[in-house]
Symmetry: C2
Subunit: 256 residues, 2 copies
């Protein structure tokens, strides 16, 4: 959350023209800008140019300006962007002006780590409840929270108005957990289980699969290796290490 607005102040001092509907690609980059802006703010910067911010976020400056222009114009020509104002603006659009409660299901290997990950707390989220299906784990206390049985999931989610759920269970259990989350009123799910979830319309699912990321890297390894190893192949014209053009610049590599 922004430390630039006193806690008691109204949520949004500057009028915002409703919620603009942003391109999905832009939405995915806003959190990155936000992180860079917080870094700048901590270092005492009050304004920042698009060039600077873009470099800090790993994108090119034209893209950054276009992204920000979708929020309405908040820069000053010849000067740059007001860091504090931009932070407020982005946090408002992302819905981070209220701390959001998250239910974490599955306190195994990964879930345990997520429960202790302070990156959530520092960026606007509060893990409000932990669940697991294993009776041995139920009752265990992690970071001040007691693990509850997954049968309680729907009830607790409803009672505490939890809107976001994180699934860190084995794949076999993920769909059942998702159903219970939905039944408990959850409308956004972050899924770490390697499987596809079926959810009703109106529920958003994002998937993070750690092995898939490695497999994508593996592909690029394979491609790089086959390029250097086969000078005689059809693509003979390619120099030993073309430093494949746009494909390996930071933007693309970082892109979701």
């Amino acid at each position: 959350m922004s430390q630039h607005r006193p806690p008691g102040a109204p949520e949004r001092p500057v009028a915002v023209p409703a919620l603009p509907d942003l391109p999905e690609a832009t939405v995915a980059r806003l959190p990155e800008y936000l992180r860079a802006l917080h870094n700048l703010a901590e270092n005492g910067h009050e304004t920042v140019s698009s060039e600077w911010l873009a470099t800090a976020a790993g994108v090119n400056s034209a893209k950054l300006r276009k992204d920000l222009s979708h929020l309405g114009s908040y820069g000053t020509r010849g000067v740059g962007y007001d860091v504090a104002l931009l932070i407020d603006q982005i946090e408002y659009v992302l819905g981070l002006t209220q701390r959001r409660s998250v239910a974490l299901v599955g306190v195994g290997n990964l879930g345990h780590a997520l429960a202790g990950y302070d990156g959530f707390a520092t960026r606007g989220f509060r893990i409000a409840a932990l669940f697991d299906a294993d009776p041995v784990r139920v009752g265990e206390e992690i970071n001040g929270l007691v693990v509850q049985h997954v049968d309680e999931l729907s009830r607790v989610a409803t009672e505490e108005s939890i809107a976001i759920g994180v699934i860190a269970t084995p794949a076999a259990a993920a769909q059942r957990v998702a159903d219970r989350l939905v039944a408990g009123g959850v409308t956004s799910i972050l899924n770490f289980a390697p499987c596809v979830l079926t959810v009703p319309d109106g529920v958003d699912v994002r998937k993070v699969d750690l092995a898939i990321e490695l497999q994508i890297l593996s592909f690029h390894e394979h491609r790089k290796a086959s390029q250097t190893a086969l000078p005689a192949a059809g693509e003979a014209a390619l120099p030993p290490l073309p430093g494949n053009l746009a494909a390996t610049n930071p933007q693309e590599a970082i892109g979701t």
Copy 2:
């Protein structure tokens, strides 16, 4: 890896026309197809239609067919795709016919979980070495591997020909770690630290930021909330609970 080819058999029985250069979006989906295919194979399916596989992978069938067509055509009209053949094909393209060694740096909260995550091992990767900067952690044994000091990183990576590195350190240390990985000959990096890495051309970086995923979900929560709060907007209330489609959808048949 595929269990459909005897361990001793030559790596690639069927000739593959060099490495086609695939659209990046396609590459990102191939691992998902692969996972679905392995599920099908375990359940004894020998062929699969694009419609079925697409549903299992969470994409639409036209996209799936176009993706697969980039690998060369391996389907039979009127029948579908040969599951075992397609698995081999995708694993070859992704470079998964050889088990790849990975160095994991940062054995804190998240790194510890990653070191114990069996999803890596089961999908073609071997964590070959663990590193940390904290002397207290050096020497600790995790899953049969001893944590080494990060100063050894470049040397060990070179000696063991490790091509992929995973960074699970705090953001402040990530760039230094990346530099050492590169110095050790690593050409692919999976970065869990919330920061942008600068690497030479020819090195691929993928970033996974857990908090960013939540922030993107938060945006959609915010948007949904502002829509329902304003009944004047075109979209009336969503139907209460559409329920899951038919009981005969591919997901269930696959039985993750």
